[in-house]
């Protein structure tokens, strides 16, 4: 990844940091290798003064909080500044765009309703017709069409056929003859 040269900040390290480290300096080892931090720590009196001058103390999460706030509460976009006729043209285009979207949406809704009605009518036809051959009764084709085997995958069980997972499933899933004891 190549940075454009304009963004590359190459301070002359030699001017900022002393080349030869004496014994006294080696005791105050720099925590940061960045030249600005080095500059600040080089003359601590000045840095402290600056801090005191500023308003409230910044917390250690100041940068994070600022970034979060900038992203969570971005300032509103600038208002559209247009002269009258330009605004009127803008309004015309906006109205046409709304109208166009409405037309598209209504056409899609109509088409979907048509397809749904077609499927419904086909299923009704299947439900009332008696199946192929003599042995298949009325609605056989409908029942077959409603089968969901293989819809969700080769070996998958469709969710419609599932039951709640229990530790001890009953031998009979539902006792239809159960009556309240009076």
């Amino acid at each position: 990844m190549a940075f454009p040269p304009a963004f590359r900040w190459l301070p002359s390290r030699a001017t900022v940091l002393p080349k030869t480290t004496s014994l006294a300096e080696s005791f105050t080892r720099l925590f940061s290798t960045s030249p600005m931090a080095a500059l600040k720590s080089a003359n601590p009196d000045k840095a402290n003064k600056r801090k005191k001058k500023g308003g409230p103390q910044r917390s250690e999460h100041f940068i994070k909080v600022r970034t979060l706030r900038q992203n969570m509460f971005p300032p509103p976009p600038a208002p559209l500044r247009m002269a009258r006729l330009r605004h009127l043209r803008h309004w015309t285009i906006h109205r046409a765009w709304l109208l166009f979207r409405r037309q598209q949406r209504e056409a899609m809704e109509k088409e979907r309703a048509r397809m749904q009605a077609g499927m419904y009518n086909a299923c009704e036809e299947l439900r009332t017709v008696s199946g192929p051959g003599e042995d298949k009764g009325v609605g056989y084709l409908y029942r077959v069409a409603m089968e969901k085997k293989g819809v969700w995958g080769k070996d998958a069980v469709p969710i419609e056929y599932a039951r709640y997972q229990t530790d001890y499933p009953g031998a009979t899933p539902w006792n239809h003859d159960w009556k309240r004891q009076t």
Partner: protein, 446 residues
């Protein structure tokens, strides 16, 4: 320049003038002009850098002025000296948008035609053919007509030229779309304001039991618009105002205008009565004919009670001067009104009642405005000029004493005021704001 180019130059000029792309499909003025050979002497338009033709560009540049913009733009400005019409401005998105809107308008017009055909068919059929009889026939026709009105507004609501014309105040109020825009603008602020005034000044229980304004009523004194509820100087309200009543439904109608004072002090009854200041009937009103100068109403068939300047006596609270516009269902007998309200109070001679005039003459109140009147420096002169008595009377509010018992001083200091606590007096006697050196201040004066 080569010989070939110099020979072909006149031809190229001719072609370049004819082949520029027009903004419209209709032939422009310049297209007709180009059939003649190009002019050799510059016209006044050719001396203008905004409209110079290509052949005179060099001359203009030599004269020290650079031609402005493209040749295409210059030709466009030349074709339309007053500027291009707004709807023909050559912005591509704008023109595409106009195409979509025009197609939609065609659809709406076709729908209107279809609905009108349906209405005609229903009207031609006998009421016996309908399941519900005549009532169902009327209902169906009315609902179709309502739908047609909606379609009429929808056909024009996306037109920028209509919007612009309305914003310029040039809208034709006979057309439903302009009435729709006007009503929307009224509902956005003025309607809210006037309903707030009706509530604030208790117009609804005091003057009418129920009232919902449906028309915009603006009040002008001396050509100055006044805000509803403003306190008007009695000198300003001495001549009758002008009303501007904008209705939002079509058709001409006759209206009655009633101006009444809802707060006339009545000393005998220790209360207030109402008095009418102006009554006029049979005033024609339509969406386009909205101005009603009350001072110009002189016709015997219209004016029932002439204008009485609103005045309020010294010391009485502000008077609410309410202006009502009521719709008539037919012409009224102004003379009967005149006889009945000659004393400005009505037959019972105690108090004017808008409700009774509404019920008696079958009127429907639909417009309302209000201003207030208080005693001011000019009131005495106005009352003197119009023979109104009572300028020498000053009302004073009767003192109403509190029913509550006075509250004794409470607190630590109050408990230790007696001689038993002599040793604490230095703490309990001289307290700033509570006592002066001798005694405690009154509870109310603290």
């Amino acid at each position: 320049m080569s010989r070939c180019q110099s020979v072909a130059r006149p031809l190229a000029r001719q072609l370049s003038r004819q082949l520029y792309r027009p903004f419209t499909t209709t032939p422009s003025i310049s297209a007709e002009v180009t059939t003649e050979p190009p002019a050799t002497t510059p016209s006044p338009a050719d001396l203008d850098p905004d409209t110079v033709l290509p052949e005179f560009e060099n001359a203009l540049m030599k004269a020290g002025q650079m031609p402005i913009g493209s040749r295409r733009r210059r030709m466009a400005i030349r074709d339309y000296p007053d500027g291009l019409p707004f709807e023909q401005l050559p912005y591509q998105a704008f023109q595409e948008a106009r195409k979509i809107l025009a197609a939609d308008r065609e659809q709406k017009l076709a729908a209107i035609r279809a609905e009108l055909a349906k209405i005609a068919l229903l009207e031609s059929r006998d009421a016996k053919d309908f399941k519900g009889g005549q009532a169902m026939k009327d209902t169906r026709i009315a609902s179709l007509k309502r739908y047609v009105e909606v379609l009429k507004i929808q056909a024009d609501i996306n037109d920028p030229v209509v919007k612009k014309r309305f914003e310029d105040g040039l809208g034709d109020m006979n057309k439903p779309i302009y009435r729709y825009y006007a009503e929307r603008r009224w509902r956005s602020y003025q309607h809210k304001l006037i309903t707030q005034r009706i509530e604030q000044f208790n117009i609804v229980p005091d003057i009418l039991p129920k009232f919902e304004p449906t028309a915009d009523v603006q009040l002008y004194f001396w050509q100055q618009k006044t805000q509803p509820g403003a306190i008007i100087d009695s000198l300003v309200s001495e001549p009758p105002p002008r009303l501007n009543v904008q209705v939002f439904d079509k058709g001409e109608r006759l209206v009655t205008i009633v101006v009444l004072d809802a707060d006339v002090p009545n000393v005998e009854a220790d209360g207030y009565t109402k008095k009418c200041h102006f009554v006029a009937a049979n005033i024609p009103l339509s969406p386009t004919q909205s101005s009603i100068p009350l001072g110009k109403i002189k016709d015997e068939n219209q004016l029932a009670v002439p204008w009485l300047p609103p005045t309020s006596q010294k010391g009485s609270p502000y008077h609410r001067i309410a202006i009502f516009v009521l719709e008539q269902d037919g012409p009224l007998d102004a003379k009967a009104l005149k006889e009945q309200y000659a004393n400005r109070l009505g037959k019972d001679k105690t108090s004017f009642s808008l409700k009774s005039i509404r019920d008696k003459y079958n009127l429907k109140p639909f417009g309302f405005s209000i201003f207030r009147s208080v005693w001011d420096d000019n009131t005495a002169a106005v009352m003197g000029r119009h023979g109104i008595e009572g300028a020498d009377i000053e009302f004073r509010p009767t003192r109403v004493h509190s029913m509550k018992q006075p509250v004794k001083p409470r607190g630590w200091e109050a408990k230790r005021q007696g001689p038993k606590y002599r040793h604490l007096w230095k703490y309990t006697k001289r307290i700033k704001g509570v006592s002066n050196g001798r005694k405690w201040l009154k509870a109310g004066k603290r």
